[in-house]
């Protein structure tokens, strides 16, 4: 890793055990600015645990997480959102009865102010702030091609559209680093290709870094600039897709899984 550029996201020496089982062991890697970085590994390799530690859901026993040079180790998830970390959800986790706009506007929560009284009384400064943020949310939805659904309840959307809402919501936190949790889960080949395209467009247009936790190899190989491979809680490989594809450790890990 080049010492010149500060990584957008840096994970150092993470370790976490659950009841004696080492879920993470000395895990370190960095996401370079503007990169699409993938974290892969067979089932139970520790991808999700690592993801959850970065997001602040789990607290690591040891190690540090840095976001753009700031130490964010042990911060709560809601604090991380304000620090420039956005994330999507594998199961979408949207409010099904709320509209698309409402869901996306939620992500502006930490960027806006105004409590019950101000909102209730429709305080002018609050209303103008809301209008401004609504405009931005609409812009993000337009960018993701869901502007026609702004006022539709999420519950009635197709899976693909709902996924876009999920990503729109993550983007609406204005992240420096976007974490995508298995974005292709439950999708067919065509939809997966669409998602891959979307990820690239997002990176290019918004100039942000993306960390992708994914199962689907085709997706990862197609979009990732760099890949970190975990197995049994340890980093077994870290490199470009081409390097990783031929790494014997990786092949063993994946073949081993298939037995």
């Amino acid at each position: 890793m080049s010492p010149a550029a500060t990584p957008a996201l840096q994970v150092d020496d993470l370790a976490l055990s659950f009841g004696g089982v080492k879920a993470l062991d000395k895990v370190s890697f960095g996401v370079a600015p503007g990169n699409i970085h993938a974290l892969i590994g067979p089932n139970g390799a520790g991808k999700s645990t690592c993801f959850n530690v970065i997001c602040g859901v789990y607290r690591a026993d040891r190690g540090a997480v840095r976001l753009g040079g700031n130490d964010v180790t042990g911060m709560h998830p809601h604090q991380l959102a304000g620090k420039g970390l956005g994330r999507s959800f594998q199961n979408l986790a949207l409010s099904m009865h709320s509209t698309v706009l409402d869901n996306v506007m939620l992500a502006r929560h930490c960027r806006t102010r105004g409590g019950f009284m101000a909102a209730g009384a429709r305080w002018p400064s609050m209303m103008s702030e809301q209008a401004k943020h609504t405009a931005r949310a609409v812009e993000i939805c337009e960018f993701l091609g869901i502007e026609r659904l702004l006022h539709a309840p999420v519950g009635g959307l197709s899976y693909g559209d709902a996924k876009r809402v999920d990503i729109a919501r993550a983007l609406a936190t204005e992240p420096e680093v976007l974490l995508l949790d298995e974005p292709a889960a439950g999708m067919n080949a065509g939809e997966t290709a669409e998602v891959a395209e979307l990820i690239k467009v997002v990176r290019d247009a918004l100039e942000i870094s993306i960390l992708l936790v994914e199962h689907d190899m085709t997706l990862v190989m197609g979009v990732a600039d760099r890949i970190t491979v975990l197995d049994f809680g340890k980093v077994v490989a870290d490199g470009t897709p081409a390097e990783v594809r031929n790494d014997p450790e990786v092949i063993r890990a994946y073949l081993g899984e298939q037995e």
Binding site: N52, V57, F89, N91, A93
Partner: protein
């Protein structure tokens, strides 16, 4: 010292019946995820059938009839109302049972009119003196019946297919369905058991020894005391229900004696809040896992 023993006896005697009620709550909650606010009206239903038939059929037969009616009533509610919405919001289902409770209770109280009928003729009001300590037969029989029923239940829970299925279902309702467990049958059985336990409880509740009053709105009120008992133990823990029942009975009796009677009901809830602050899912309850 005698006073203290008497207080403990009083408390445990009540605790036994609370445990029966709490166990009913817990079984229903475990199987269907429903906080059953209608438990008090199951109690009234069983009691009503028993008091209406006891003059003609004698206590034993009417008691069995009452218990059976409470069980069938619970089954009816489950099949006709709850089963229609198996995955509905827990709050909505809790409210549904409130609706049932309101109607059933009002109707039974209306039918009772000005009567205050008592149950438990064979054992009620004939205390046994041992030295300076009084043992009320109702409480002794409640303890014995409670112990037998609880033992039977735990044996069934551990050893029968129903018990295995029920435990699997409590772990994960959707997964259990995938594993081929007939959810409907397990849940229905749980409601029947809950109703039966409520029906048994009323045989002790509507007595002179236990509550001092016959079947009335007060009986329904006592059934609600089993709420904190179930919560203290943990809503999905059958062992917890037994422990919770005992804790509530003893807390009531001890605080009535050593603090003040009017504080005793508050004391139960203070104990419950303390438990919840430390363990938000009760002493033995499993913590809710939030999906990410």
């Amino acid at each position: 010292m005698n006073t203290f023993i008497q207080v403990m006896v009083n408390g445990l005697g009540k605790g036994a019946v609370y445990a029966l009620l709490a166990l009913g709550f817990v079984i229903i909650f475990k199987a269907s995820g429903v906080l059953n606010f209608a438990h008090g009206s199951f109690v009234l239903l069983g009691g009503y059938v028993a008091v209406r038939t006891q003059d003609d059929l004698g206590f034993t037969v009417s008691a069995i009839l009452g218990v059976a009616t409470a069980g069938l009533g619970a089954l009816f509610i489950e099949r006709v109302l709850v089963a229609r919405r198996p995955l509905a919001d827990p709050i909505a289902l809790a409210l549904l049972t409130i609706g049932v409770d309101v109607i059933l209770t009002e109707e039974i109280i209306r039918r009772l009119g000005v009567e205050l009928p008592f149950l438990g003729r064979p054992y009620d009001g004939k205390p046994i003196q041992v030295g300076d300590i009084t043992f009320f037969r109702t409480q002794l029989i409640a303890l014995a019946v409670g112990a037998v029923l609880v033992t039977l239940f735990f044996l069934a829970f551990r050893l029968t297919g129903w018990g295995v299925a029920m435990r699997a279902q409590a772990e994960n309702r959707e997964a259990a369905a995938l594993m081929g467990i007939r959810r409907g049958r397990v849940t229905a059985a749980a409601w029947v058991i809950g109703g039966v336990l409520a029906g048994v409880a009323v045989l002790f509740l509507a007595t002179q020894d236990f509550s001092g009053s016959g079947l009335s709105r007060g009986t329904h009120a006592i059934a609600l005391v089993a709420f904190p008992a179930a919560i203290i133990g943990g809503l999905d823990s059958t062992e917890g229900a037994i422990v919770g029942g005992a804790i509530v009975g003893l807390t009531e009796a001890l605080s009535a004696q050593y603090i003040s009677f009017e504080f005793s009901k508050v004391a139960v809830y203070v104990v419950m809040l303390t438990v919840l602050i430390v363990r938000p899912s009760g002493l033995f309850g499993t913590r809710e896992r939030t999906r990410v």
